[in-house]
Symmetry: C2
Subunit: 216 residues, 2 copies
């Protein structure tokens, strides 16, 4: 599942998209958008197993060379396509009530992972990243890192409102919410449901301790 | 990393270990133990990348055919070797104080994952399992399922002592402890440390909510 990487380095925009017969040179941003749209469609329809740069090239009309200029591997292209899907579907709301916002967000996250093929895709991306350090670094840099920062900002505002205890490390909270869901996705001992999403938020905000050890 | 599986089915003991030159037919349990010991040593020394049935055969003296009778794939053999390591290193203590026990256990778990090559091994096993449904099922059946049951029994006794709230779902607690650690292992946005292990137990037992939303 984890194809070898090509030699190119970054995924930043370039201006050298190859012209196609009968067309003038099209703007790079347009070509890039078409490639990502094609990648996203393929990824969500057929998953990582059938995802190749060749198929994205055929569907988008861009050349493989052009695609490889922007994305050094099929994993990098799949990752960017996945990020675009998530950013569209899973915005971070901040209504001023952290418990309601976290619950709504985690329920939406579970629906995204389980109600569509996105869960299979991200599980395979994380799976491939275990033996592909380049993909692992890209995953952190382009996906989990930026989304973590946005979630942490929401938690920080909740702390300022007094809805989180002052000493709480928001990064650990994120691991105990997202990590719990990813664990059910990746290992699947138990089903990943919206009810589970509600329970993990409640556990984390109110605590699972009983009357004997809970100092509250 | 995820090699094809052979045709054999189970990993249960057999009595048909091939005799070696100069030796009589040795008991199957003895041969099986030697194979597992060799597998474990290879796995912890060189990780999954260099782990092959061929190398385990050379090191243990058992034939590849014998090994394949018990383990249908290199993944299945690596998994059983890993389970043996974990069962030896990570027993579930129950001293009667759930917070102290969970904290000690999670610190030990983090040391196991980060202080030895075991973390890399289990990350690669989970990674492979994302595209190998047979390995995924074995992982649940032989590793995560039985260990979850033992952890749940410890949590159940804590609930009976009043150290966990009566309505708490112990499976979700396990996901919020183990899952948080696996998430840091697999995605590694932030370091997996013993301090993190302490924090996630405290968050979960006492709650992260502040004075405004926390009803306690």
């Amino acid at each position: 599942m984890c194809a070898a990487r090509g030699p190119a380095a970054g995924a930043a925009g370039r201006t050298d998209a190859a012209p196609r017969p009968g067309q003038g040179r099209r703007p790079a941003a347009l070509v890039r958008g078409e490639v990502l749209a094609a990648a996203r469609e393929l990824l969500l329809t057929d998953g990582m197993a059938a995802f190749t740069v060749e198929r994205v090239a055929r569907r988008s009309g861009a050349s493989r060379m052009t695609i490889h200029k922007w994305w050094p591997s099929r994993g990098a292209l799949a990752l960017d396509a996945y990020v675009a899907v998530v950013d569209e579907r899973l915005a971070f709301e901040d209504t001023g009530d952290i418990e309601a916002d976290l619950t709504a967000h985690m329920r939406k996250f579970v629906r995204h992972l389980c109600g569509t093929s996105a869960g299979r895709v991200v599980a395979e991306l994380i799976g491939c990243a275990q033996t592909d350090p380049h993909l692992a670094a890209l995953f952190r840099e382009r996906y989990s890192g930026p989304r973590r920062a946005r979630m942490a900002a929401v938690l920080e505002r909740a702390r300022e409102r007094g809805q989180l205890a002052a000493e709480i490390d928001s990064q650990a909270l994120i691991d105990q919410l997202w990590g719990a869901c990813y664990f059910r996705l990746l290992v699947a001992d138990n089903p990943l449901t919206e009810g589970f999403a509600e329970v993990i938020v409640r556990n984390l905000l109110h605590g699972a301790g009983g009357h004997v050890t809970d100092p509250a």
